[in-house]
Symmetry: C2
Subunit: 209 residues, 2 copies
């Protein structure tokens, strides 16, 4: 069966996004610099650049292989409405998912088909139903809970997350949206599966035990 | 000059200590099981066992070498009053520091000399003065900010912490005392220096840049 996984960048102090993050003002609370430090490990990887059509070139090596394998395993994505709203303004026309994307929202809206294989489906009947639909469309590939933090927390609290992959970057946000909060379960739920030591982030992979 | 460093165990969700941690009741909020999961990487290392006189044996290898090197580099410790109070009840007569220990407190108390080289000094005039005294006694060795979380935060906020070493354990506490909170500075203050991948914790070493 498909695995359900989370794959995110995290600041050393546990935030997925810095405080004050708004597309309108990169200087606000210094969020642009913090975000850049969080993403520094990724931004120049060949497979990431290729996916966003940044042009040829970019780093190859174990971190790039990790990024490529992650992209290749995804059969469906699930995300929250706030992440979608930010992305709707920021993604290129060919949105960088190339799979069905299930957006958790109260808004009713027809599926939005993008060139390159991404179709956004707007799901009004909750995270469990979104996961069912994602499973149906993913086939033998895996399902990524893309974010934001609140959506990941909902799926952690449903107990359905098989794997958590974290790129832990050496930046302190000092505030923002934390990944691990309001958890229903606690204890040694996960085990360390793999660690890849990159210069700009430490890639931690945990598997539910 | 001596380095000032932090070396702690941290839960995957960023806590140094679980909620409800009290020596009187290990079952309370399941804190005993969480704490055991946090410390699992350390408890059977040879040099840790030796230091606490748990008897011969224990694991050797890179994690044990890390523990030994850490102990050997410390010329003075600094800790908060709550950590001292818990330790006063829990440490063996030969307290496991073997250095001067500066305890931040409002309480006035004569130095408390323990067999084995540990002397607790009670400092009433703030963290900066405690650090000065620790520097005087540490000589060429280093100064460990031992904890708890609030004391580490005070020194992070003074901007004097040169190195942060974290043993990140795959356990979710779901609540408790977070390490990184109430930070005065934020941004890419640290860089990754070393990562050691152990089975029960990932040993992350950050150096101030």
């Amino acid at each position: 069966m498909s695995k359900v996984f989370v794959n995110i960048g995290l600041s050393l102090d546990g935030y997925m996004a810095p405080e004050g993050m708004t597309m309108e003002d990169f200087e606000y609370k210094n969020w642009g610099a913090k975000w850049s430090a969080l993403m520094a490990w990724l931004i120049n990887q060949q497979s990431f650049r290729e996916n966003l059509k940044f042009g040829p070139g970019g780093e190859t090596g174990p971190v790039n292989d990790l990024v490529r394998r992650t992209m290749e395993r995804i059969g469906a994505n699930i995300m929250g409405k706030r992440m979608f709203d930010q992305g709707e303004r920021a993604w290129p026309e060919e949105a960088p998912f190339h799979t069905p994307v299930y957006v958790l929202t109260h808004e009713k809206r027809e599926p939005w088909v993008r060139p390159g294989g991404t179709t956004f489906h707007f799901v009004n009947d909750g995270p469990e139903r979104a996961l069912e639909r994602a499973r149906e469309s993913a086939g033998s590939r895996d399902i990524r809970i893309a974010g934001g933090a609140d959506v990941i927390q909902q799926y952690l609290n449903l107990g359905v997350v098989d794997e958590v992959e974290i790129a832990l970057a050496p930046v302190l946000f000092g505030g923002g949206r934390r990944l691990f909060e309001i958890l229903r379960e606690s204890g040694p739920l996960f085990r360390i599966d793999k660690v890849l030591d990159g210069p700009a982030a430490t890639h931690l992979r945990y598997v539910r035990q």
